[in-house]
Symmetry: C2
Subunit: 329 residues, 2 copies
Amino acid sequence: MANIHEVAKQAGVSSATVSRVLNNTSSVTERTRQKVDQAIKELNYEPSMLGRNLRNSESRLLLVLIPNFSNPYYTEIINGIEDFSVERGYNILLCETDSNPTRENTFFNMVKNKLADGIISMDPTINMAKLQELAKKHSIVLCSEYDELERIPYVAIDNEVAAYKVMKHLIRLGHENIALINSDEKFLYARQRRKGYERALEEFDLPLRQEYIYNTNNLDFQDGAQAMRKLLQLDETPTAAFAVSDTLAIGALKELNVKGMNVPGEFALVGFDNISFSNMTNPTLTTVAQPMYQMGIAAANMLIDQLQGKPVDSVMLDHELIIRESTLN
Amino acid sequence: MANIHEVAKQAGVSSATVSRVLNNTSSVTERTRQKVDQAIKELNYEPSMLGRNLRNSESRLLLVLIPNFSNPYYTEIINGIEDFSVERGYNILLCETDSNPTRENTFFNMVKNKLADGIISMDPTINMAKLQELAKKHSIVLCSEYDELERIPYVAIDNEVAAYKVMKHLIRLGHENIALINSDEKFLYARQRRKGYERALEEFDLPLRQEYIYNTNNLDFQDGAQAMRKLLQLDETPTAAFAVSDTLAIGALKELNVKGMNVPGEFALVGFDNISFSNMTNPTLTTVAQPMYQMGIAAANMLIDQLQGKPVDSVMLDHELIIRESTLN
DNA sequence: TATTTGTATGAAATCGTTTACAATTAAATG
DNA sequence: CATTTAATTGTAAACGATTTCATACAAATA
């Protein structure tokens, strides 16, 4: 593969001029531009990003950290990030951390190594301390999960309000015994959604019953099924449940199906995230839609602005309650 | 961030020696090694991949091309690719082509540009001519979709046999009117699965009825629902269907649910791919499992071998029919 | 001790760009 | 036409690593 000097020689100019044509950075005569273009075609030259990146000391590569690829929750956000980044001349590298500190370290090193310019983290299990440290010298943005105390900019939704709205919807339908299928409360969003759950109970004068709150270890279908199994074993079984993710809700729904319970007739169910499957279940699932694509756009925008030295502020985006068959009666 | 020369100065040696310590490529006294390690720690130096890559003219980055992130079909394959690559010191860049030629070109250029070392393509819509051209000078592997005529190495399963097995299963259950919900037959796998469908009909002396074959435009849920809607409008409706992807099957199942039909009592249904959601539907879905993770491993292995100049051969992996409720009676 | 062999280190070239600075040429002004 | 100003182009030094080749020194041999 030809390099810039060979192109220069072929065109009878200096490599500097070729570079100028390539980046049209300063004025070049139409005539020389043509000679250079000609030479580029003849040698079918492609500039080496390695050389360019080294010289400019930037890679135009952004890291997107997610706990695992299989979670459909992230796909639309990623699309947003991808579209915006490509638009601005950046590529994204999707990184699966598997909640594995070694993996995590690999990615942190990539930005220290200059192999990547910055990070958008959507991994709630990430090592915040290390990330804070990294953020001192590099550009980082948090998406959907964030750190209340610190100053890494983030984009997220108001989880508490969303959970509150879900509860209000269920309460209006006449439910008084409403379970919460929550994930591990080491996650901020889990704590926030629980807060919304509790606030709604309080405001509508319903008792807060600890046995109605089930915390899962993961967000897999089985965890949701397991949770529902436990809830249905209680003396006074709930008549509705709010699961903090659609995957959990779908697992719970599966269990209700297995038990032959009518949804929403005997049991109402709400999920969270509006993943595409949530509209394919039987019955279809009431859920909370986050503006995924917009969140992706916003996160990418913030990161690139940060890279270019502009000041950035965290943003809070709107959400929407999508009412479907699982709560309609 | 310190560079190798500063480390050298700090340690009182030359940059060559530091490089030798870093890569322990040739003998270095224990004493100087310690001095260098010391200096590296003091300056907390991280070698720049940009410099290294430029010098070595390799990026240790592999491109993985998929049509879109949201298709759950690819996740396990990607996990396989990722695990194997990381093991061998490569990182992967997940590239969504969106079946968009411009996007595609961007990725092709990345390997021409030396920004990436090779490509694993899982995109059935890819421009084969261009890919062949690229393959002359660069390392490329196809996964799951391949080109019968050409010599780009691939890893895949025997789609025809798989489809044949599905049909045999349905025929044994007593079905005689079996529909095929196929995707666009510009895809090789679609043509192969149709072949298996037809061969089974022939061998069991069942008529081949064109109106039982429905071709969808995409693989979304709606396409499956749409297909089932059409099939149920036929004069003599089929009693079973084989959908060439789980997403199509799930859409079809949704439509059957809507129509109030009992599955498998009134209608038996088989999918393909064994995506995780296929075990959460009601009823759970009979499907064909491909050894996704293994395919990923194999593809990455082939690509890296190729990069290192070893000869590689295409491989055909086994599949498995997973019988669940949607065909059990 | 003189000579050979082997090991440990350093100097400098290299990978392919971009860019500050200098130098050349062309255009504009009086 | 001489002089100033502006527009093009070239030279050479970075960016940060690796590696060839040469050199210094220590150990082994005669």
